[in-house]
């Protein structure tokens, strides 16, 4: 059976939905840790709630990814470049998991409940500990910058395929007209 030329609809919806969510999370995170303004409390609450949504979303997305066929990259792309492209996708997944998990764990280590939209509170899976908080807090910040770097390269590559090479790779994620 031949491989599809585009990611299937669910994969595309997850991709673009999460791209929007993750950028919002990054901007919110970077701004709120500096702010002494009254909106800090509100934004922090939203950040944690949507962060948990992002964790659930990336789990769903991984399952979709593992269970559906992905489009073949065009033959014009050298084998090494294909491998790098694949590796970068898995690194993106690693970062998409590490962000919300480190956020959740740091809140556990700080002894602070993670409430999702006031609906329910996640259980603590980590003991309260100052060095553990220190670790996960720094991981949260470092992985955020790693994610930013990866995504910027990722976007540059996607646009390069779409605008310069025009080899159908960008369309594999945007969808194409039948």
């Amino acid at each position: 059976m031949s491989q599809p030329t585009t990611y299937n609809l669910s994969a595309r919806v997850m991709h673009w939905g999460m791209a929007f969510l993750l950028f919002s999370m990054l901007f919110a995170g970077l701004a709120m840790v500096q702010s002494l303004q009254p909106w800090h409390l509100t934004l922090l609450g939203l950040h944690k709630s949507f962060g948990v949504i992002a964790l659930i979303a990336v789990m769903v997305r991984l399952i979709i990814r593992l269970r559906t066929a992905t489009p073949a990259m065009p033959d014009s792309i050298p084998a090494l470049q294909k491998r790098i492209a694949h590796a970068s996708h898995w690194l993106l997944y690693a970062a998409m998991f590490a962000m919300p998990l480190s956020g959740y764990f740091m809140q556990n280590a700080a002894g602070r409940p993670v409430a999702v939209f006031d609906l329910f509170t996640l259980p603590a899976v980590m003991p309260v500990s100052l060095p553990l908080y220190g670790f996960f807090r720094e991981v949260h910040a470092l992985v955020a910058w790693a994610l930013i770097a990866l995504v910027l390269v990722h976007i540059a590559a996607a646009l390069h395929h779409g605008l310069v090479k025009r080899d159908g790779v960008l369309q594999s994620m945007t969808g194409r007209k039948k």
């Binding site: 990054l26 901007f27 970077l30 701004a31 709120m32 840790v33 500096q34 702010s35 002494l36 303004q37 009254p38 800090h40 409390l41 922090l44 280590a109 700080a110 002894g111 602070r112 409940p113 409430a115 509170t121 309260v128 500990s129 100052l130 060095p131 553990l132 908080y133 220190g134 670790f135 807090r137 720094e138 930013i148 910027l152 976007i155 540059a156 646009l159 390069h160 605008l163 310069v164 025009r166 080899d167």
Partner: protein, 355 residues
């Protein structure tokens, strides 16, 4: 595949560089403070920690010790709040008694402000409160508080406070008057157990109908103490408290003051009139005191915006500013403990021996 016109190529590259570069630059700018008001949490903590931060310690209220005990509620706040702490029951707490300042070895008796911080309950009923001896803040915004600390700090060159700068600050901030009146009339007592500790900022109690009542609270002492302490001993107050708790529990009445419609619950610089309704919610009973390295208060960030269901934060700008500043101080000291596991949370054992 379409053949593209070569002339369009530079433009296409420009689009890519513009899009990626623009996005990167925007993220970088936001991380660097784009859109922030004049003072950020990092600026604040930089100012508080000074030029030689004490690694591993809180950047404010650095010197303190852990306490543990229970809050014995009498149930009288139940009509006003659904927080489980206010049912007629007793809730264990972990807490911390401290003095203001960034120096973990500062002499107890020189501190202008003494503090009591408490943590009760878990999960969605967790409540953290950090209280100080003054009943009001001198100023009502984080920006003005930043200027106040700047004005009160010793001059880096002379090592002395600059009275003119202090005068100038107070002259341009008439809202400091209530605080200064309190300061003029306040005599520190001879024990942490005989001080009044105020929430200063106001909060809302919320009952099962969703009604909100603005309140402030204070831990009121149940004993008085004016005995002479050894002014040479840098740990005079700590030692006194440890000995006192050893002998018998130390109790405070947790007293709530209810605002009227005419009171502005978002302004921490004004006292509410004396005739406001007061409700004693129960007693804070301290059973144990231990150095930070033996207790479990050091890992707590007493962020006053961690409130149980049944309580909520007012829009008081000082209250809202505390959360991000505490988190920045917490981040720094936690990182230092992660990187250097031999950091001791509390030096008081050594200083006791060296007396």
């Amino acid at each position: 595949m379409l053949k593209q016109k070569p002339s369009a190529l530079p433009l296409r590259y420009a689009v890519i560089i513009g899009a990626v570069g623009g996005l990167g630059a925007l993220l970088f700018a936001v991380a660097g403070g784009l859109g922030q008001s004049s003072v950020t949490a990092q600026d604040f903590v930089n100012l508080q920690e000074g030029n030689n931060p004490h690694l591993g310690f809180r950047r404010a209220h650095a010197k303190g010790f852990c306490i543990a005990g229970e809050f014995v509620s009498n149930g009288s706040l139940q009509p006003y709040s659904i927080a489980p702490q206010f049912a007629a029951t007793s809730t264990p707490f972990v807490g911390r008694i401290s003095i203001a300042g960034n120096n973990p070895t500062a002499p107890d008796l020189n501190a202008p402000v003494r503090s009591l911080a408490l943590s009760f309950g878990a999960g969605s009923s967790r409540w953290l409160t950090a209280m100080n001896t003054p009943p009001v803040m001198a100023v009502g915004t984080p920006e003005a508080f930043y200027q106040q600390i700047q004005a009160l700090s010793p001059d880096p060159e002379t090592g002395e406070r600059n009275p003119e700068r202090i005068q100038a600050f107070f002259a341009t901030h008439p809202e400091t008057q209530t605080f200064r009146n309190w300061q003029a009339g306040y005599t520190p007592t001879a024990s942490f157990a005989s001080e009044i500790y105020h929430s200063i900022n106001a909060f809302y109690l919320i009952n099962e109908n969703g009604d909100r009542q603005a309140v402030r609270w204070a831990a009121m002492p149940t004993i008085s103490s004016n005995e002479e302490l050894d002014s040479e001993n840098v740990n005079a107050l700590q030692n006194e408290f440890f000995a006192r708790v050893e002998a018998q529990p130390v109790a405070f009445d947790l007293t709530f003051t209810f605002a009227n419609d005419s009171d502005d619950e978002t302004n921490p610089t004004v006292l509410w009139p004396e005739d406001r309704q007061q409700v004693v919610a129960g007693q804070i009973v301290v059973h144990q005191a231990m150095p930070e390295n033996e207790g479990n208060c050091n890992e707590i960030n007493f962020d006053p915006l961690v409130l149980p269901k049944g309580m909520a934060a007012t829009a008081d700008p000082i209250l809202r500013a505390r959360s991000a500043a505490y988190a920045e101080s917490y981040r720094r000291r936690a990182r230092e403990h992660f990187l250097n596991s031999s950091l001791q949370p509390s030096p008081q054992k050594e200083s006791e021996n060296s007396q």
